[in-house]
């Protein structure tokens, strides 16, 4: 392709891409503007003075760090729990033959599409009667309701991608079934496990509805409901502070995108869409 045509195409595509990204760029710009500059009409497109005071306020004067800690614990616990179950479960669903296997697979797919609001009422009653409301454990259990079917479905398609011959060969060489799983399948499956873990982590990190209903105290509130309650409680909405919070809240995502993005795209190819 002639260079000029490629340049024109690049320019056009990048204008579109920047338009799509504008809300995010605007979020970053707003977060570094001083409060006085925020309420200018017309708005300044590039900040006249760059300040990090909002980030400082956020970390020192609000419970942001507490929420952040809660979100990290919550998402990590959910991820470990769900991925461990899903890895063994997917191995069983794909490589073993027993009664009810197909029905179970269909049930997983069905629950993968189930709306959260159907489960929220019984789950709320369940957590209250177990004395678990307002705890991080209640949220880990609640997050399992959408994360487990999702992870199982994803792991299942990754598992299908591992050639069965490898396992058979290992067993001919005298390995037990679980030995073959540990030494042969697990290493092959590792990229799939990482991909599933990342998706699960992001799902848990972003969840809002269960956190809204099940947790009502600052000590175990995650970031999503925590940051929204900062919005509601403030007398004057401090947009620069909220934009700083939004940026900080997206930090894990930015890290994943910068270093591990290929795992996200492979997950998409694997399980999220088929056809």
């Amino acid at each position: 392709m002639p260079l000029l045509r490629k340049a024109a195409l690049s320019l056009f595509v990048w204008i579109v891409v920047l338009l799509v990204s504008f809300p995010l760029i605007w979020m970053v710009i707003t977060s570094v503007k001083p409060q006085t500059e925020l309420f200018r009409i017309p708005p300044t497109w590039l900040p006249e003075t760059v300040t990090f005071e909002h980030y400082w306020t956020l970390l020192s004067e609000t419970p942001f760090l507490l929420y952040f800690r809660n979100s990290v614990i919550l998402s990590t616990a959910t991820t470990i729990f769900v991925v461990a179950l899903a890895t063994l479960g997917a191995y069983s669903l794909v490589r073993f033959r027993y009664r009810g296997r197909e029905t179970l697979a269909m049930l997983v797919l069905f629950t993968y599409l189930l709306p959260s609001v159907v489960l929220i009422i019984p789950l709320y009653l369940m957590m209250v009667s177990l004395g678990l409301s307002n705890t991080l454990i209640s949220l880990v259990l609640a997050y399992t309701t959408f994360a487990l079917p999702y992870a199982l479905w994803l792991m299942r398609s990754f598992m299908e991608g591992v050639p069965p011959d490898l396992e058979a060969a290992a067993m001919v060489d005298g390995a037990s079934r679980m030995g073959a799983f540990r030494d042969i399948i697990f290493p092959q499956l590792l990229p799939g496990i990482i991909s599933t873990a990342l998706f699960t982590f992001i799902l848990a990190w972003n969840e809002y509805l269960y956190a809204l209903v099940l947790v009502n105290s600052d000590s175990s509130r995650p970031l999503t409901t925590g940051v929204m309650s900062m919005l509601i409680s403030a007398f004057n909405i401090e947009w620069s502070l909220l934009m700083a919070a939004s940026v900080m809240m997206s930090v894990p995502l930015i890290i994943i995108f910068a270093f591990l993005q290929s795992y996200l795209t492979s997950g998409f190819g694997g399980g999220a869409v088929k056809g």
Partner: protein, 299 residues
């Protein structure tokens, strides 16, 4: 196959190991999904006051109220408007963007990352950013639109109709169109180049090539995307609840919001459960179509 009389000892042993491996999943599954699901149906036959959790059996009264009242039907209408609106935009922008990103241009992988980002972003963050953009006095959106000359006066984006509906549809499209982009992009890369060559030789222009070569090749992946996104958009809660809270009044109150409000603001848990079950029944149509499609693919 199971329990054939001539099943070998090894096969039976393996079946037992398989069941052992799936057992933890089944236990957790039953406790947090199957039991609550059945409980929701059971609860929908009661009248329960949320703060005290006391109530009595009312039979199908909740369903009678649901069918004869206006709320459910109105919310169903809102849900369908939102789903069709946002899904249409997602598919059109998604396919267009995928076609662009499939061309070769400078810094392509960076551009792809930037486009995909909103999909993985927390809905809370997306909503905060857009509420700031929609701000009637200091929002960037009103300012840009006035500058370009589309509007003369700042618009009240989320507080009046039909702006609020347009607002949620736009934000939904922005947040979820990358899903279409990723899926379509992956499929585009597998379309054999020689199909385009042949079309070129036959004298087909770029538009004819899109409709005669690209679109038929995308058909199956688009069907799956549309089904899946229709299901997900239909049950969307966070985005709408956080942007408008269902308002103004109940103009953007979808079924998911109706269930939440009935259970936790109006404190009628039984009635809310009935709404939830009815909502699930509506969704079941899409679910069955999707599951059948995916199911036949696998076998």
């Amino acid at each position: 196959m199971p329990n054939r009389p001539n099943q070998t000892t090894l096969e039976r042993q393996y079946a037992r190991l398989g069941i052992l491996l799936i057992a933890p999943t089944v236990v957790v599954f039953s406790a947090v999904i199957v039991y609550p699901l059945l409980a929701a149906i059971y609860l929908s036959l009661f009248s329960i006051y949320t703060p005290t959790l006391q109530g009595e059996f009312v039979g199908i009264d909740n369903y009678v109220k649901l069918l004869s009242g206006k709320l459910f039907w109105q919310s169903l209408g809102v849900t369908l408007t939102w789903t069709v609106g946002t899904l249409t935009l997602q598919v059109i922008f998604g396919v267009a963007m995928a076609l662009l990103l499939n061309r070769s241009f400078w810094f392509r992988s960076l551009a792809r990352s930037l486009v995909l980002f909103p999909y993985f972003l927390s809905t809370v963050v997306a909503v905060l950013v857009w509420r700031w953009l929609f701000n009637d006095l200091y929002g960037a959106l009103n300012h840009i639109l006035m500058r370009v000359g589309v509007i003369d006066m700042p618009l009240d984006w989320l507080g009046s109709m039909p702006n609020a509906m347009i607002g949620i549809i736009l934000v939904g499209a922005w947040k979820y169109f990358p899903f279409v982009v990723i899926a379509v992009l992956a499929r585009l890369q597998t379309i054999p180049e020689h199909l385009y060559e042949a079309a070129k030789i036959d004298g087909a222009g770029p538009i004819a090539r899109f409709f005669d070569v690209t679109l038929p090749q995308l058909r199956s992946v688009l069907t799956v995307i549309i089904l899946l996104r229709a299901i997900w958009d239909f049950k969307e809660f966070d985005l709408i609840y956080l942007l408008t809270g269902g308002g103004p009044v109940t103009s953007t109150q979808t079924l998911a919001l109706l269930v939440y409000k009935e259970a936790f603001s109006l404190n009628q848990m039984g009635q809310a459960a009935a709404y939830a079950v009815a909502m699930m029944l509506v969704m079941l149509v899409f679910m069955v179509v999707y599951i059948r499609r995916t199911g036949t693919k696998e076998t």
